[in-house]
Symmetry: none
């Protein structure tokens, strides 16, 4: 099955937004064994959109669009779909009800415009949208399949996974199964060198590295006639990678560092607290991303000023005077201070210079100390981070979470963890 | 002048990389007054690339490609360009010298493959690459202009700015100027309805709405023979929008809510503090995004547990018992508690149910209270937010920041603000 992806929206042609949908869909389609020879972007213009449909169906059997399902006059993807397939559009009561309910829940009045989002051809498959007002649809006319999905990625992705993937799997006779392993604390080139002997001899499964945000992920992809056989092919490669990367390998699939750490904390009933200076809330916010963390997260302090560090964390005035707020000593007292304040077994701290101002020769922008207190023992780590203010704060947050994760993985007290 | 952008590379069709080049070029071209009606992506396949060239030149006078200029057999963008324009390719000595020098500087031997990167048609304009081995080129044949640029953004962007922008400016006699206004607290459809009389009668300037993350932006775009005239055309429309949206219009261009609020706080020397339950650090983290906030940000508390709310913020046990942690009363005591704790003039608080668990009929997931304390006065706002855990927490954070912004804008004490 050949596929084309069309993104609809003048904002894409003006460069206002980035077309992340095309990447997401291409990757997922290739994992499903469906190859995409063309991607295109067209504006909110009826004539050009129609021509783009015509061209796409000359080259492919499956066309997936994103965008143009909104309530405004500019949004006309669905309308052109009806026209292209000469379909009459009828009101889909269930969708209208869902849109009305959504507005009611938000306590806002539904604009008249929104009614048009509930119109579909009688024989189309309507795709429910749990994350926005625009439902999607599938039209299959003589084995030409058109799928209209909404533009916002947070609506498009769940709709694709929940409704489109099961639909498309009916048409495939070999399948691709992928497994992603996530590595932190090693650069991309080094990580790739460590497994170069595996990458060079690969056929099925294949191993593809990808670096982003201080992490390296390895996607292992196997092709087979069914899911079980594909999964069996993945196992030995996965084992090899785990052996090579050891504790640097922190998770799988869509795992995030905070998920992995949150799970360790909750399962071992390890109460935790945070004391942040330069990260200013990001560390707490990341940990609290993990649902269920409320069982162990006791308190966090954003102690941006020296006064707050002394008042709330009990950092000593002498420490601040002698070593400065950005120092290993302060990081230690912050981690210990927050843990003792709320009676938590664990305290994590960050203190550093995020910039753009505030750096000196001795303490440049990007210098960050992270501290971890566990059951009476404190340790710190010095970081020299690159990037702008936001990047430094985000990286400091990731490093602090990873520092605690490693400490817990190697700690004798939590031998069973990993 | 009409333009099309073609990105060449199978890795794009597999979803391995994100096509950021298309966004960059589209934005820059539209700023130069060159409109792009189509973007497309095609793989490293000679036949399909040639067909893509043919189609693009049927629709446009200017075609810009990115990618496929590398040294391997897969890289064939330039070769197809020669074929398409029936041009003979000759060695460009200067380029060969630069490539050889580059390898020498890196202390590596040049692979034979790289020689092909120095071949160009005799009458093409060769574009120097200071950041990689692949030069670009411009072929202008009977007013059909083809520009081949390298794929890596760090090579493509400087080449575009240094060589392509000056070249293209020769062909332009009108320019486009855009101004973006940012509106919060009104849904997209309602916002559009409020200015439908302006949108319906628009010619020059045009007004385009775009919704993202709970905001609506309006891009006003004017065409004129020079920058000043274009800016003059924008003024009356901008005034009208400001009049209609009043305090809902919070910023311009790339302004973020935290920038606007941070600026108000710092310029008026308003000391601020945060007390967060469900947002768990996000509110503090957002405020601290604003560089220079350290002058006024005194302290933040992540009081996820009831104990922490009582211990650190002085929330009364009776309040928690009678009204619950998620209540207007608790939000009030939290905001007041953190402000008094650190002596700040302003305290902001959030308390709510971010889900996925923890909701009841009476207090469903998405129920959030935000509180604002300013100089002795406390007010709260009840929110019913939709989405998953992360979305609810992000929206609660935006709403809390916006609630404070509005309070400050209408407050008599800060009349001069806005």
């Amino acid at each position: 099955m050949k596929c084309e992806i069309i993104a609809v929206g003048t904002e894409l042609l003006l460069g206002d937004i980035l077309n992340t949908n095309a990447q997401y869909l291409s990757r997922r389609l290739s994992e499903l064994g469906i190859f995409c020879y063309h991607q295109s972007v067209v504006g909110d213009n009826p004539q050009r959109l129609k021509e783009t449909y015509e061209l796409a169906f000359k080259r492919a059997d499956l066309v997936i669009t994103t965008g143009g399902l909104g309530p405004t006059k500019d949004d006309l993807t669905k309308e052109i779909s009806f026209e292209f397939f000469k379909k009459e559009s009828v009101l889909h009561e269930e969708s209208l009800k869902r849109i009305e309910d959504r507005f009611e829940k938000m306590g806002r009045e539904m604009a008249k415009n929104n009614i048009k989002q509930a119109y579909f051809p009688k024989d189309a498959i309507v795709l429910r949208n749990d994350n926005g007002t625009a439902p999607g649809c599938i039209i299959n006319e003589n084995n030409k399949i058109l799928i209209n999905l909404p533009g916002p990625p947070k609506e498009m992705k769940p709709m694709f996974e929940e409704s489109v993937v099961p639909y498309l799997s009916n048409f495939q006779n070999v399948i691709l199964i992928s497994k992603v392993l996530r590595v932190i604390g090693i650069g991309e080139s080094s990580a790739e060198e460590m497994i170069s002997h595996i990458i060079e001899n690969q056929t099925n499964p294949t191993v593809a590295p990808y670096a982003k945000d201080g992490e390296v992920t390895f996607r292992i992809t196997a092709t087979a006639e069914n899911e079980n056989k594909a999964k069996e092919l993945i196992v030995p490669i996965e084992e090899k990678l785990k052996e090579i990367f050891k504790e640097n390998l922190y998770g799988e699939g869509d795992d995030t560092l905070e998920d992995v750490l949150g799970k360790i904390l909750v399962e071992n009933n390890l109460t935790v607290s945070t004391a942040e200076s330069c990260t200013g809330g990001l560390l707490g916010a990341k940990l609290i991303n993990y649902p269920g963390i409320s069982a162990v997260f006791l308190e966090g302090a954003i102690t941006y000023s020296n006064d707050a560090k002394m008042r709330t964390l009990g950092v000593k005035e002498e420490t601040l005077k002698e070593f400065g707020a950005v120092s290993s000593e302060t990081a230690k007292e912050m981690a210990e201070g927050i843990a003792k304040r709320c009676g938590a077994r664990i305290g994590i701290s960050t203190t550093g210079i995020a910039g753009p101002g505030g750096g000196t020769d001795e303490k440049p922008v990007g210098l960050v100390y992270v501290g971890v207190y566990i059951d009476g023992e404190v340790s710190t780590k010095k970081l020299n981070l690159l990037g702008n203010r936001q990047q430094i704060r985000n990286r400091a947050t990731q490093c602090a979470l990873d520092f605690l994760r490693r400490k817990l993985c190697i700690s004798k007290h939590y031998k069973d963890i990993k």
